[in-house]
């Protein structure tokens, strides 16, 4: 019977496990993937290598050379303190991304297990956490952050904790939505029967499934975290003088903008806008993987 010798290449192609990257390219078109990933990589590399690059000292004030328009010597001009805006924009990548990433990771590390537990245990605990996350989702983010920072003191750590605080509900909700349908799946029942402790089940069996959605949500949360941190430092909270950070640079330049000195505010804003744009694009690309899997 000829039937069961199917041509080798067709079956392989249909069901073989291609690398995540391959599937991402296949789902979204090559140039879109390459462009976004490349640009984001450029920004991260610039951020990491900032001190080694041939840039001017980002925190060197020069009162005599303050508010100079963009020129060959100062690519993005200078701000009111006379510091080089271009160098500060590049160095700000460190401050913004580091703060954003740490707050998102903390948020995820707390939110994901919480979501997994509440999804798996169900009952009053699940109800309670969902209700609490819904309430906190509604909190006015910037206002509440201001209140907390006013209460707990305006330090960098507090800023990271506040922004992390806002990420917890995002991740707990997401993980819970992945975990709930898994509760009845056979291998989870099997593990239960084999008297694997509840925590073991949740962390070894269930949580790994939620890794891809969590992983794909990370860049988007980073995007929101960067915007939030910039917003807070625009209000003078968090980053101290003279650390280069986009939000505080925009605020420093804001007053001059009306009098025609646009560059101290516009360039950090552009950098912030580009980073958030790229992060949300990358998150979409990763999300397209998740959709295909479930």
């Amino acid at each position: 019977m000829v039937a069961n010798q199917l041509p080798e290449f067709s079956a392989a192609r249909l069901f073989a496990r291609r690398s995540l990257y391959g599937r991402m390219v296949e789902a979204n078109g090559a140039w879109r993937v390459h462009l976004n990933l490349a640009l984001l990589l450029v920004i991260l590399v610039l951020g990491v290598l900032a001190p080694l690059l041939p840039l001017q000292d980002p925190v060197k004030p020069d009162p005599l050379g303050s508010l100079r328009p963009p020129s060959s010597e100062h690519l993005f001009g200078t701000d009111t303190h006379g510091m080089d805006v271009f160098a500060r924009v590049i160095h700000a990548i460190r401050a913004d991304f580091a703060l954003a990433l740490s707050s998102v990771v903390i948020g995820a590390l707390i939110g994901a297990p919480l979501g997994a537990l509440s999804g798996y245990l169900g009952g009053w605990f699940d109800n309670f956490t969902t209700r609490v996350t819904e309430v906190f989702q509604g909190f006015p983010q910037i206002l509440f952050a201001m209140a907390i920072l006013a209460a707990a003191g305006n330090t960098l750590l507090n800023v990271v904790l506040v922004v992390a605080f806002y990420n917890i509900p995002v991740y707990s909700k997401m993980v819970r939505s992945v975990v709930v349908p898994l509760r009845e799946v056979e291998y989870v029942q099997a593990a239960k029967v084999a008297s694997v402790p509840t925590l073991g089940i949740v962390f070894r069996y269930i949580l790994p499934n939620a890794l891809v959605p969590v992983f794909s949500q990370l860049p988007l949360s980073c995007a929101y975290a960067v915007q939030m941190i910039a917003g807070l430092s625009f209000l003078g909270l968090g980053v101290t003088i003279p650390t280069p950070e986009w939000g505080s640079m925009i605020q420093l330049g804001a007053n001059q903008m009306i009098f025609g000195h646009w560059w101290p505010s516009v360039f950090p804003g552009l950098a912030l806008f580009l980073s958030v744009w790229l992060l949300s694009n990358v998150s979409d690309l990763l999300k397209s993987l998740v959709v295909r899997r479930s």
């Binding site: 005599l64 303190h81 101290t240 003088i241």
Partner: protein, 533 residues
């Protein structure tokens, strides 16, 4: 498809709206018959009860709403503004006076037929007597003036006479009693609002002015605006403007824009960048007047390492005085040279040894035992662009002698409170010396335990010099004492004298008659609007 047509329609409406809005250049302001002086101010008035006002904004309003005991005469500088002549005193609420038995007693004649604007009662000696009682009763700012002027007793010696008794001759009596808080209020009206827990009616008086000044308050929308009306029965004649509108615009840039757009006549508390931008604008003028306002960085002399005098001297050498003067203040104002302002009497520049010399600074630090430097937190008040710019420059130069300066902007309320409780390791703010007299400054700032000694600084020898200065009337003696006063403070260096700031105010071209007072308060009375434009 209805979606597409909807979108095109929406786009069309937007374009039409934009063009319509652009075309209708309806004047932004509604013209009114009465001539109103509009001033953009930074924050609301704290209180209308002068003894309890801590902030410049309330002092200014009280200056214009109450009639002070005395005032300075003013002289024209020929540069478009007049300046208070600190040497000549004129009577205001007090008509005339004369010293008795060697300046131990002062007989005051109260100006007759002057009236409290809101209540219509005539001002009598009783109001003055009650003013003194209230000063003692409330233990507030006015009492400090009375005690510093060494007044022991104030007695009413007639319907319109008062006599003040002094423990010693007081060289600063007039400069103290021209202060905005030294002004009679209608004690009968105040008495009606006394309450069980508020015997001096402070709560009522903070919201209601019962003075006999050039203006009185007719409307007050907290956080939005306050309107003053000219007192037509003022003894020196009614002010030029019918009304003065104080419009609260917290954002300094917004104030500058309001002025440039012609929506306000005067804009106060602007940053150097905004003033720089306004200098080029049409129909706007910026007055820049040298004053005795110094930018000062104070150390808490009780906490190491700042308790070590060598460390303080080292930091005095690490200040780029010229760069601050030229770069940040664009050459306006003066380079500071010691505790007495450069233009003040008895100032002696030869005594000032410090200049920007990092080598000397490093050497002194080594001597002091801090070769590898130390950490220092500098607290400043938020929303002060000038202070922040100076702090950033210092941060850079101090880092070159391994002193790591952390700048900590605080809210103005917390900054002020922590000054009082000596909680700052180092602080920086501009300080205005009202009275051009080293004794007064010493009494207020450098004497051990002085009210504004925010450095916790104490030098007994200096205390003795200040005590002598406070009773010395003879100029030659004062000069000798002032010299030792400057030497002691300069060598001890409890504070850094960073720069002498000009007082800068921006107003419309047609506003004239500005008089610069020593306390930089804006006096509305002499201002008028030139009509020929």
């Amino acid at each position: 498809m209805n979606g597409r047509s909807l979108l095109l329609l929406g786009g069309l409406i937007l374009v039409v709206a934009f063009v319509a809005l652009k075309r209708t250049r309806i004047s932004e302001t509604q013209d009114r018959e009465t001539d109103v002086l509009v001033i953009a101010i930074a924050s609301d008035i704290e209180t209308l009860d002068p003894p309890f006002s801590r902030f410049q904004r309330s002092n200014e309003t009280n200056l214009n709403v109450f009639d002070q005991f005395f005032r300075y005469a003013s002289r024209d500088t020929g540069k478009g503004y007049r300046v208070a002549d600190v040497g000549t005193i004129e009577g205001a609420a007090i008509e005339s006076w004369d010293w008795l038995d060697g300046q131990r007693r002062l007989a005051l004649k109260i100006r007759r037929d002057t009236v409290f604007a809101k209540t219509g009662r005539t001002v009598t000696a009783d109001d003055f007597a009650c003013w003194f009682e209230r000063a003692y009763g409330t233990d507030s700012g006015t009492l400090w003036n009375v005690e510093t002027a060494k007044i022991t007793k104030a007695e009413k010696t007639g319907d319109y006479e008062m006599t003040l008794h002094f423990s010693d001759p007081s060289p600063w009596f007039f400069s103290l009693f021209r202060d905005q808080s030294q002004a009679p209020i209608d004690h009968v009206a105040a008495a009606q609002h006394v309450e069980s827990d508020d015997e001096w009616a402070t709560r009522w008086l903070s919201k209601n002015d019962v003075g006999s000044g050039e203006f009185y308050v007719i409307s007050w929308e907290p956080g939005v605006k306050m309107v003053l009306k000219a007192n037509s029965k003022y003894w020196a004649g009614r002010a030029f403007f019918d009304e003065v509108e104080l419009r609260i615009v917290p954002n300094s840039t917004a104030r500058a824009l309001l002025l440039r757009e012609g929506e306000v006549d005067i804009a106060t508390d602007l940053s150097t960048d905004e003033l720089q931008a306004l200098r080029g604008a049409p129909d706007v003028k910026v007055l820049s007047i040298p004053t005795r306002n110094q930018m000062i960085l104070g150390f808490n002399t009780n906490t190491p390492p700042l308790d070590n005098v060598k460390v303080r001297q080292a930091l005095s050498y690490a200040v780029p005085y010229e760069l601050i003067h030229e770069g940040i203040f664009k050459g306006r104002g003066l380079v500071s040279a010691g505790p007495i302002p450069v233009q003040g009497r008895f100032h002696d520049s030869s005594l000032w040894p410090y200049a920007f010399d990092l080598e000397k600074a490093r050497a002194l630090l080594e001597e002091a035992g801090y070769p590898e430097g130390f950490e220092l937190t500098l607290d400043i008040a938020q929303g002060q662009p000038l202070t922040e710019q100076v702090a950033v420059v210092l941060q850079d130069t101090f880092s070159q002698i391994a002193v790591k300066l952390r700048i900590n902007p605080q809210s103005s309320a917390i900054f002020a409170e922590q000054l009082g409780t000596l909680e700052h390791q180092a602080w920086m703010r501009d300080l205005l010396w009202y009275v051009d007299d080293p004794g007064y400054t010493g009494e207020l700032f450098f004497k051990t335990g002085a009210v504004s000694n925010w450095m916790g600084y104490s030098n007994l020898e200096l205390d003795e010099v200040i005590r002598q200065l406070s009773v010395m009337v003879d100029p030659a003696g004062k000069a000798r004492l002032a010299e030792t006063y400057q030497k002691l403070i300069i060598t001890d260096a409890p504070v850094l004298f960073l720069a002498e700031l000009p007082f800068e105010i921006a107003m419309r071209e047609e506003i004239d008659g500005y008089v610069q007072l020593p306390d930089n308060l804006l006096w509305y009375y002499p201002l008028y609007r030139k009509k020929d434009r």
